[in-house]
């Protein structure tokens, strides 16, 4: 009895918290699919049939029609006005494609270099290993803001301002990723690598054909981490990118806030579409991601 009471209370508390946490996202979806007039009239979705017109019509219709119309007031009215405007007036599609390209490239490059470095740190004994690890820890301690100004100066001197090379290359290796991959490859049995060497595998083949497939969960986790980092990144792209047709989504959306400040529906539709890819990727990779994060918390 006491247990049931406790559990009810627990679920009640959890549901209230969930409602509070999810409300902004639900509101975002509702605002995106509202028509231009409904935006200011209804907090969430506008009903398919407005209650006012329903009340007028109830006088004329029979009982069946009454309930039919009552149902229609519960159905949300979905309009695509905001999305049409988003893709019509604004180079939003361009921003999406730019972001896809930048994030995709970043993920592939970071994944490759970080896992390769992690493999070297996990499975080889060599001179200077402790030094390299110390170096990596050191880079994680330095806040990015310290390097921002000289890094921009360097990119400028290299003639890479307003290019994706200047945007992506300085962050092409993730030190955090190297630590993650080192951690996951430590458990790889050395016998497997010896066997590979006897069979005549080159060292790169050992990495590509043995170590990499074994750390598949970490590949999943790091793909999400890397994608999120690139997709959501703002400050560095804001500094590096100048021409509008190279803007990524965060930069483009921020610019839209200034230009379309009164068209909240369009802004919300743009925000919704910007948020969706990370959400989808999370659903695909959530198991790996949560376990990777938790492992980091305990071991770190």
């Amino acid at each position: 009895m006491r247990r049931t009471f406790f559990l009810t209370l627990l679920y009640l508390a959890l549901c209230v918290c969930t409602a509070v946490m999810l409300t902004p996202m639900v509101w975002l979806v509702a605002a995106s699919f509202k028509g231009p007039d409904d935006l200011f009239h209804y907090v969430f979705f506008a009903p398919f049939l407005e209650p006012e017109s329903f009340r007028e019509r109830t006088k004329e219709i029979g009982l069946l029609g009454y309930f039919g119309n009552l149902l229609l007031t519960l159905v949300p009215k979905i309009e695509f006005h905001n999305f049409r405007q988003l893709f019509g007036d604004i180079p939003f599609f361009r921003f999406v494609m730019n972001s896809c390209f930048v994030a995709g490239t970043t993920v592939i490059v970071q994944l490759f270099f970080s896992s390769l470095g992690g493999f070297a740190l996990a499975k080889y004994e060599f001179k200077g290993k402790r030094f390299v690890m110390g170096l990596m820890l050191g880079t994680m301690m330095i806040p990015a803001q310290v390097l921002m100004a000289p890094l921009y100066e360097l990119i400028f001197k290299l003639g890479l301002v307003d290019t994706y090379v200047g945007l992506i290359v300085p962050g092409a290796v993730s030190v955090f990723g190297m630590f993650l991959f080192r951690q996951s490859m430590l458990d790889l049995p050395d016998e497997l690598l010896y066997a590979g060497r006897i069979d005549g595998c080159g060292e790169f083949r050992l990495y590509w054909d043995i170590a990499l497939p074994v750390s598949r969960p970490m590949i999943g986790a790091f793909t999400l981490i890397s994608f999120m980092g690139s997709w959501n990144s703002f400050l560095w792209p804001q500094i590096i990118l100048h021409s509008q047709d190279r803007f990524t989504l965060p930069i483009g959306l921020n610019q839209m806030v200034g230009v379309y400040s009164q068209e909240y529906g369009t802004l919300m539709a743009g925000t919704l579409l910007s948020v969706l890819p990370v959400m989808l990727l999370f659903f695909l990779l959530q198991k790996e991601f949560i376990s990777g994060l938790a492992a980091g918390a305990i071991k770190g």
């Binding site: 946490m21 080889y124 806040p143 092409a172 806030v257 949560i290 918390a297």
Partner: protein, 296 residues
């Protein structure tokens, strides 16, 4: 794609991308920023040596004082509000016999997936007077004025930012607490139970000491993150500091001076000051929480 190489040289080859990029885009800028901090620059082209003048100006600039005050207030209150709530959520999710734990965990964690800029755009609309979700909700619940201008009133900008960051990070920190709670030795609970300790005393004497390491870890990470606050106020306040500079943060001050006004030297000065300040605060937190001794 195969290249066979000797076992001795392979690790160096595998680490060469990191080492190369580190030297070019890590070590060089680091040294350069130390030099730049003593120069006044106008964009990347012209530089004049000024000695300690950048630091002297920085510490006497009222705008910087405002930025430090705002950022510290934000860091203090957002950590103070966030951590207990994160721990509370983790405790709720850690109850045995709970069904749907994965769903609740995702619901709490999901805001973290949304990038700061996107959160900023979303909340800048949620905070608008009269039609925004927050004003409508608070109006219905406690009768707050529908026309409350969260982002237009210098006293309300900070609470709005803290609320937004709370939504973003409370579930993220919860994940760490949850992992820590699941690692507390169950035998200790049993022992405490046998000794007649009630739920509150078990929490105080078993749970809290058990998660102490992770708590300090989360607190330090949250503080460091808070001191780097930039995107939220910058985007929410229309690429500026807001009314009376109420949303001016240290990184925003750096961005404005370095990349809007083009003084990369002064930006380096600000960057180093921030880095040293955050480092000292982290050390202080470790000292005060007694984590210092554990490190030795």
């Amino acid at each position: 794609m195969t290249f066979s190489s000797h076992k001795k040289t392979a690790p160096y080859l595998f680490l060469s991308p990191f080492l190369l990029l580190f030297v070019i885009f890590g070590l060089y800028p680091l040294v350069k920023s130390l030099i730049l901090a003593f120069y006044v620059t106008n964009g990347p082209k012209s530089q004049v040596f000024v000695g300690w003048d950048n630091f002297r100006f920085l510490f006497s600039d009222p705008d910087f004082h405002k930025a430090v005050r705002n950022t510290s207030l934000f860091a203090f209150f957002s950590v103070l509000v966030q951590l207990p709530l994160s721990l509370g959520l983790a405790l709720l999710l850690n109850q045995s016999g709970l069904r749907g734990r994965d769903f609740f965990r995702f619901a709490f964690f999901s805001p973290h997936l949304v990038g700061q800029v996107f959160v900023a755009v979303l909340f800048s609309v949620i905070f608008i007077p009269h039609f925004g979700l927050l004003n409508r909700g608070l109006h219905a619940l406690i009768g707050l004025d529908l026309d409350t201008k969260w982002l237009g009133n210098s006293n309300l900008v900070m609470p709005a930012l803290i609320l937004t960051s709370l939504w973003m990070y409370v579930g993220f920190n919860m994940i760490y607490f949850l992992a820590a709670l699941q690692n507390v030795d169950l035998d200790l609970y049993d022992a405490a139970y046998v000794d007649g300790a009630n739920a509150f005393r078990r929490f105080l004497h078993v749970t809290l000491p058990g998660i102490r390491g992770v708590t300090v870890f989360v607190m330090i990470l949250a503080t460091i993150g808070s001191f780097q606050l930039f995107e939220l106020p910058f985007v929410m306040l229309g690429n500026g500091a807001g009314p009376d500079g109420a949303g001016l943060t240290i990184v925003m001050y750096l961005y404005m001076n370095g990349f809007v006004n083009g003084d990369l030297g002064y930006a380096s000065t600000i960057g180093w000051t921030l880095a040293i300040g955050v480092f000292l605060i982290s050390m202080l937190q470790m000292y005060l929480t007694g984590m210092w001794k554990r490190l030795d």
